[in-house]
Symmetry: C2
Subunit: 209 residues, 2 copies
DNA sequence: AATGCAGTACCCCAAATGGGGGATTTCACA
DNA sequence: TGTGAAATCCCCCATTTGGGGTACTGCATT
């Protein structure tokens, strides 16, 4: 036997909302009993309902879909949220994912794929269009300009990030504290900084370590 | 008319490699002329060939697929790499993406989906199984424990990260340097650190700022 | 009324830091 | 063959930092 997936919809456009509900209710294995026109009303009722998957519009009047998830997801940790959007080309993708969304689809996704996506989030996947996926993975591929630091300098910078002082670093690397200081002076020159704090900040932000 | 997508394969298992090539060459619109059994041989020839998409095994003898991409991708920025793997449950996903891969598929992906994925990377998408996508987006949803710092302390921590000293911070916030020092002492207590470098490191890594 | 936290301000002092030098060896690359 | 970068070590000295205090105000919660 096949389980029924309970779906809720938060979407302000009447036509889209009703069309989505029709698609879902017209397909065996899917059921949509609750729909909401904004986050305000969804926030009141949704946490008390048994729902597996929520389709959430991003551009909503009042509370945005992103802020809506931020409030709802903590109350419904076992419910998966799929964001629906018309525009793929902005960073609301990242805001949505950080807010707790599990999937991210275009509103013009064909019904068959929408239903497949609902099943997939329900089964623990994260459906998203491959274009959106590309944007997501590009965020991992931030081009790291080659570090200007030598091996020893990088090594020392790592220890600086742990909050170690000249002496501790010297002991750990079997060097004299003088040497460590020399290296750190060179690190400062190369990174164009003049304090530990700034060096550490730059090191972590620029992924030098 | 339909363009032909030129595919190369790097895979040590003879059977898999030949099967993949057969699938690709047996389908109109796809062509696979070059296959390699390891990264060592691929590194020599691939950069000089015209190839749109490379299917790269992750677990290769000698140079791994991940290290292979690190070397190849910079030389072939317009070529897309799809990683092939048998195990999805580790962080080679992230290493691959960071190294420059555009897609990430299981080796047991059915032929039709493999071909669709090749087309999708070629068109600028990033195909990956929804399970893998879930792992990727979970990396965005790191739960940030509420900061123990007060508003003023957070403000001062931000300035510390810029490398400012007591006096500069004091001037910027219209405080006495004594006050700034008091705040910083409290920051250290709350973060369980005892130096600027450590505080800055913790602040950035824990996203306190 | 009391307690505690945030924010402000001050004192003392030892230790660490940053900036300015200079010096040597080794090793690669031109 | 020499030039430079990397790595090691040393000196001096003014400034900054960190740790130990104390003290006052306001505000909220108890």
């Amino acid at each position: 036997m096949k389980e029924i997936i309970h779906v809720a919809i938060v979407e302000d456009d009447d036509e889209i909302r009703q069309t989505l509900a029709l698609i879902i209710n017209g397909t065996p294995g899917y059921h949509c009993k609750h729909t909401f026109i904004d986050c305000e009303s969804a926030n009141k009722e949704l946490p008390n309902l048994y729902v597996n998957v929520v389709l959430m519009d991003i551009e909503l009047p009042g509370i945005s879909g992103i802020d809506g998830i931020k409030q709802l997801k903590p109350q419904m940790p076992n419910t998966d949220f799929i964001m629906l959007t018309i525009k793929q080309d902005d960073n609301s993708i990242f805001d949505s994912l950080c807010a707790g969304a599990s999937g991210y689809l275009m509103k013009d996704t064909p019904p068959s794929e929408l239903l497949r996506s609902i099943t997939e989030v329900y089964k623990g996947g994260s459906p998203m269009s491959t274009n959106i996926a590309r944007k997501v993975i590009q965020s991992f591929q931030i081009s790291t300009p080659p570090s200007p630091l030598s091996g020893r300098e990088t090594e020392i910078l790592q220890l600086l990030c742990k909050g170690m002082n000249y002496r501790s670093i010297a002991e750990q690397l079997y060097l004299s504290a003088h040497t460590v200081k020399s290296h750190i002076k060179n690190i400062y020159k190369k990174l164009h900084v003049n304090s530990r704090a700034e060096a550490v900040s730059k090191a972590i932000k620029d992924k030098l370590i």
